[in-house]
């Protein structure tokens, strides 16, 4: 068994990103949530709910798991991260900023004309492996990437974050079938299981359950974790197989809009443009929740 070397990741991070090194991962996740809300004040808002549900797992990935070199985005031995649920771009940009791929000030340009920070990620942004946004593409890209990493003997792993509604795309299952058949242990899928799609509960719209059973029957090892429990996420990422092992899917049980009472478990949080007043209330709710928990 080969483990995702969180120590190694931390070293890479410390050498390149001293500005944020003092913040704990939990504090980074809180900062990410504030930045997502800020980006939601942009010209056309952002996908607030699905960004907030991904915030903890993206923070653990970018702060503790992914081996990356911001000063050398194409470092051949880096881990590859693919945000298949491209609409959570605001969360990704915050994560890339925390890791030193782009200045935090640039987040203010989100969604503005001429910005690199589009509603769905552009490949020309350093740290973005593939442009995404049309759902159901990322896992196939991850299969090809992991296959190539194995073929070329590079040490990086491939991680693909999908939304749960995205699993309704048939192409996901083509990719899932092939990853297991090819024993691509170097590929890890993560499902942001927030249970809401645009028009409502996934189980009422197009049921996904039994979800773990589906992945298992496709030949994957399934880890179901609380997607907001940092230690549980750390443990999941520390137990990944080597390049010829059975691929792992981490089903992260999350809450859409997590951390902002106005948006939690609300289908209307999917895409929101935050007016100054709404932003003020959302931010106050986020901070009050955070104070109670600390």
């Amino acid at each position: 068994m080969e483990h995702a070397t969180t120590e190694h990741a931390a070293t890479e991070r410390a050498s390149s990103d001293s500005a944020t090194a003092e913040r704990t991962t939990a504090e980074q996740a809180q900062l990410m949530r504030e930045q997502i809300l800020q980006m939601g004040t942009g010209p056309d808002g952002t996908h607030v709910g699905g960004s907030l549900s991904s915030a903890d797992l993206l923070t653990v990935l970018y702060q503790e798991v992914l081996r990356l070199r911001p000063e050398e985005p194409d470092w051949p031995d880096r881990d590859r991260f693919i945000l298949s649920k491209g609409h959570a771009s605001a969360a990704l940009y915050a994560a890339l900023s925390a890791r030193g791929f782009l200045p935090a000030e640039e987040l203010a340009e989100y969604g503005t004309s001429g910005s690199r920070l589009a509603g769905h990620p552009l490949r020309r942004l350093p740290g973005v492996e593939f442009p995404t946004g049309s759902l159901g593409h990322g896992l196939s890209l991850g299969v090809g990437t992991a296959l190539a990493l194995r073929r070329t003997g590079r040490s990086g792993r491939a991680y693909v974050l999908m939304g749960d509604g995205e699993l309704q795309e048939g192409s996901v299952w083509e990719a899932a079938m092939s990853a297991a058949h090819l024993r691509l242990g170097g590929l890890t899928a993560i499902v942001d299981r927030n249970r809401l799609q645009i028009t409502g509960d996934t189980e009422e719209r197009m049921g996904l359950e039994p979800l773990a059973g589906k992945w298992r029957s496709f030949g994957w090892q399934v880890l179901t974790v609380d997607g907001h429990d940092l230690d549980a996420l750390r443990a999941a990422f520390a137990a990944l197989p080597g390049p010829t092992g059975q691929p792992v899917v981490i089903i992260a049980d999350t809450v859409k809009g997590k951390g902002v009472p106005l948006f939690e478990n609300k289908k209307k949080s999917h895409s929101v443009k935050l007016s100054p007043n709404l932003h003020r209330r959302a931010l106050a709710g986020l901070r009050a929740r955070s104070r109670r928990q600390s």
Binding site: V143, T145, S171, A175, M177
Partner: protein, 321 residues
């Protein structure tokens, strides 16, 4: 029969498979991505299993996997049927391959009506139009087996062709256009016959062969028809087409594809912008061609025959006078 004729008396897809295996032996970047097509497992997989993967009957996955492989520096050849490449997996081709300008070689067999007997699900008469509209893609339609070998060898050169390519192949043996080696360059029209009266612009095995035969018919009537084989539909050889537009009475385009959006469309767009002239387009008419027939039968119904091409050329000349 010459060595050349003997060697290339075969289907474009057969010479493709042999050539792919040959280049892969010396270029370890080459990676054969199969969708259970049948025919690649015997040769390629048997000899180079480490450079082969079968992703199953799953064309969307084929394109995404190939994009991932190419992004990591490999040179994937993505194998499927032309219709599935261009229509079923169109979005993956657009976003994952073309949008990223990745060097994936998409190889579609059963182009045009070459699988006429299979019916309309296996006809590909809109693929060139679709692929031509996607960014960064080079679109190649070899006219015979020999040209297919030239094209496949050219695809290994990522200096010359750093982006994605769509290679459209047929299914059965088709007539040979040349009698021996010739100069093949991607993006450069192949002048098959000089002529100053009218020009036949063709792509694809049957259209090119019928155009050459049409030029013979026209010669018998005292008309010197220029014949251009446009094996590269994108980028189009603008110089060759515009020279023909300037120097002859007009153009007849001939293709085994819809008359909209393919070679005829490309030629009409180019001439309309730079040298308006008569462009008569011969090809498959609009419609879902719910018919069974051989490739030549179905194309004959669409007017892809030497007499019909010759007649169109004469009409173009009459209109000019």
């Amino acid at each position: 029969m010459t060595d050349w004729q003997e060697r290339y008396a075969t289907a474009t897809r057969d010479v493709y498979r042999a050539t792919l295996l040959d280049i892969a032996k010396s270029d370890t970047r080459v990676f054969c991505v199969d969708t259970d097509m049948g025919g690649l497992e015997d040769g390629f997989e048997a000899e180079l299993p480490d450079q082969y993967v079968n992703v199953g009957i799953a064309e969307a996955n084929l394109m995404g996997v190939s994009a991932g492989l190419a992004a990591e520096g490999l040179l994937p050849f993505a194998n499927t049927i032309a219709s599935f490449a261009a229509t079923r997996a169109c979005e993956q081709v657009k976003v994952d391959i073309a949008g990223n300008a990745l060097p994936v070689r998409i190889v579609g067999t059963h182009g045009g009506f070459s699988a006429g007997h299979y019916g309309p699900t296996h006809h590909a008469v809109e693929d060139v139009a679709i692929m031509r509209s996607l960014p960064n893609l080079t679109v190649l339609v070899p006219a015979d087996a020999a040209e297919t070998e030239y094209a496949v060898r050219a695809l290994a050169d990522t200096e010359q062709l750093p982006g994605p390519v769509y290679l459209r192949l047929g299914r059965k043996a088709t007539p040979l256009v040349h009698r021996g080696p010739y100069t093949f360059r991607i993006g450069q029209a192949d002048l098959l016959r000089p002529g100053r009266d009218v020009t036949l612009v063709a792509s694809g095995p049957v259209p090119v062969a019928e155009s050459v035969a049409a030029a013979e018919l026209l010669a018998g009537r005292g008309i010197a028809a220029r014949v251009l084989n446009l094996h590269t539909v994108k980028p189009l050889d603008a110089e060759a087409v515009l020279s023909a537009a300037r120097e002859t009475a007009g153009l007849v385009t001939v293709e085994d594809h819809l008359v909209t959006g393919g070679l005829g469309g490309a030629v009409a767009e180019l001439t309309a912008a730079h040298h308006p002239c008569r462009v008569h387009r011969i090809g498959v008419p609009d419609g879902f061609h719910d018919q069974v027939g051989t490739e030549t039968e179905l194309l004959a119904r669409a007017g892809v025959t030497a007499p019909a091409i010759a007649g169109a050329a004469e009409e173009v000349m009459r209109e000019r006078n």
